[in-house]
Amino acid sequence: MNETFEFNARNMATYNEYLTRYDDVESALLPVLHLAQEQNGWLPEHVINYISGLMNIPAIKIKEVISFYDMFYDVPVARNVVHVCTNITCSMFGGREIYQGLLKHFDTGYLTPTRDGRISLQKMECLGACEIAPCMRVNNDFVGNLDLTSAIQKLEELP
């Protein structure tokens, strides 16, 4: 697949602004990867090569970073990424049953997009919102005090 990728004008401006924040180029890698992932949805090989060329960082180093962190995806993910917390407090209140229930309901697996490409479910560790356990992150917003039906209903509304 010889698709190409490059930052659109707005992201290129943001990229240059990022460079001014740090004293060396490598430090800007994480913010740049967030930027690229927002534009492309996930980080395939050609995005890695583009960033490698842009920032003069060896491609293997970028692959290492992408595979290390939970929030960078080297597999295609859907438009809406849903993080379901399965850590101690949330599991006490049924977080894991909700996760399994959602998987069964949307008939999908870890991170694989649903057939209509709308939703990707990801099993995550503590999201830092234990007061509203069990909770979920739907596109950067916390949704708490869930049960299976309210979770499904919340995800059905997503575009």
Binding site: P58, I60, K61, K63, E64, S67
Partner: protein
């Protein structure tokens, strides 16, 4: 010289430079400290956690590879606490390690096997499912990768980052699913060093794959003749042949490394097509011949010798002594310069192993070693001449040598003294006479600095008693 400090390790007093690496000081003084990720030629990673030591006055054990030598330190790594720590850390190393010893080339020289014998738990508690990763991957430049055997000591990633600076290897993922992998195929010229520094069988050489078990091999310490650098190497061989070449640590010339070209210098020594005895070329067929008959045909012919730059200083001296007083003409064939002048690490374009030794010997004997002298001799070859050509052992590009052979064809009798097997290119010679290869002779060659690098003889795989000087005597007969 920096200031020396005294410290005691397990009760034994040792000396080391101030601020130098504590583990290096122990290893240099022959103290056995288990370690996987520390390598003298690389930066400190401190991830295998095998080299833990205790120091008086320091509450917690700490890895000795990340510590520096200070005056009066009392360090121990034989206390029961450290012993059990090393034992359990080794068990952690072995937890997800596959049971591959029967099919693994590293068996016999594997870091896990060695330390297991000394520090093993001997009754493993592991009955759970091991983590599986990708096995048998060919990652180019004769290197095979098996990510499952890897103990993630990161020596190879540090090597490609610091020594060759090509950043080709990396560790993906997190936790015990972390896996060594390559971005694309390996491209650097020092890839086989990865095989040497990998303490386990994760990186093995494709050229040596399943050829021989290492406990059947003995090692000969000699010098690489691949180019003028003259790296210190050891060749592993046994009666069936030579199998591989590995570098030896040498402070002045090659440090811990050697280049990939040098890895193939053993191939002609024990190859089945190596010349065994004197042979005669009867219209294209090489048939064993009797030396006396060859000497007979030389009578009355004018002898001309074209020597290669691969002989040792001793051989040149003996040769010139042998032809002393005779009317024989001698010239030197120097290999052409190949590739980049110097690649910044070890590899050099000048592929003549002993150019300086040859020039010195020629001048001492009053002969001209320049290319012009060689051309003059080639130009004046008549059918009444008998030309001896010493074939260079390592021929990187044969066509330059072939042009020499074409010019020699005008001679009456053409004799090739070949240590190797290059029978293909020697069709136009009348006689082929065997000479010993670099692995079968003791002597010295002068490398690019002019420093003497010793060659040592290992086992012999052909007629090795007759060297160039033996054939030099024929001219007076």
């Amino acid at each position: 010289m920096t200031e020396k400090v005294n410290l005691t390790w397990n009760g034994k007093a040792i000396q080391a430079e101030k601020g130098s690496n504590l583990l290096k000081a122990a290893l240099d003084n022959g103290i056995e400290v288990a370690h996987y990720c520390y390598h003298a030629g690389l930066s400190v990673a401190g991830v295998c956690r095998m080299c833990m030591v205790e120091q008086d006055g320091v509450p917690r054990p700490f890895p000795s590879c990340n510590a520096t030598c200070g005056e009066g330190m009392v360090v121990r790594n034989d206390t029961p606490k450290i012993k059990s720590a090393v034992e359990t850390t080794l068990q952690f190393h072995l937890l997800n390690h596959p049971l591959d010893c029967p099919v693994c080339d590293q068996a016999g020289e594997c870091g896990l096997q060695d330390y297991y014998m000394k520090h093993g738990v001997y009754d493993s508690q592991m009955i759970d499912k091991k983590v599986h990763k990708e096995k048998v991957q060919d990652i180019g430049k004769n290197v095979m990768l098996d990510a499952e055997r890897c103990i993630l000591c990161s020596r190879c990633t540090r090597f490609t980052e610091e020594v060759t600076k090509t950043n080709e290897l990396g560790i993906l993922n997190r936790g015990d699913h972390a896996e060594i992998t390559v971005n694309e195929q390996l491209k650097n010229d020092y890839a086989q060093n990865l095989v040497d520094i990998c303490p386990v069988g994760a990186l093995t050489s494709k050229d040596f794959r399943f050829k021989q078990r290492v406990w059947f091999l003995e090692e000969v310490q000699t010098t690489c003749i691949g180019c003028e650098t003259g790296c210190a190497v050891k060749v592993s061989e046994n009666k069936n042949g030579a199998f591989r070449v590995k570098p030896i640590y040498d402070h002045d010339v090659n440090g811990h490394w050697m280049c990939d070209d040098g890895r193939n210098i053993y191939k002609h020594v024990s190859s089945p097509t190596r010349l065994a005895s004197a042979t005669e070329n009867i219209n294209g067929l090489f048939v064993p011949a009797d030396e006396l008959a060859i000497q007979a045909t030389l009578k009355g012919k004018k002898a001309k010798y074209i020597l290669s730059t691969g002989l040792t200083v001793g051989e040149y001296a003996n040769f010139f002594k042998a032809i002393k007083g005779s009317k024989a003409e001698v010239a030197l064939y120097t290999l052409p310069n190949l590739g980049v002048e110097f690649d910044g690490l070890l590899k050099r374009g000048d592929k003549n192993p002993n150019l300086r030794g040859a020039k010195a010997a020629f001048e001492a004997a009053g002969f001209d070693h320049t290319q012009a002298a060689l051309d003059k001799m080639l130009g004046s070859i008549a059918s009444s001449d008998a030309v001896f050509v010493v074939v260079p052992e390592i021929l990187y590009n044969e066509d330059h040598f072939n042009t020499l052979i074409k010019k020699v064809e005008k001679a009456g009798t053409r004799i090739a003294l070949t240590p190797g097997e290059t029978l293909g290119t020697l069709r136009s010679f009348n006689y082929l006479l065997p000479v010993p290869s670099f692995l079968e002779k003791n002597g010295e060659i002068l490398n690019y600095q002019g420093a003497a690098r010793t060659l040592r003889a290992g086992l012999s795989y052909g007629e090795t008693s007759k060297d160039v000087s033996y054939y030099g005597k024929w001219v007076n007969v």
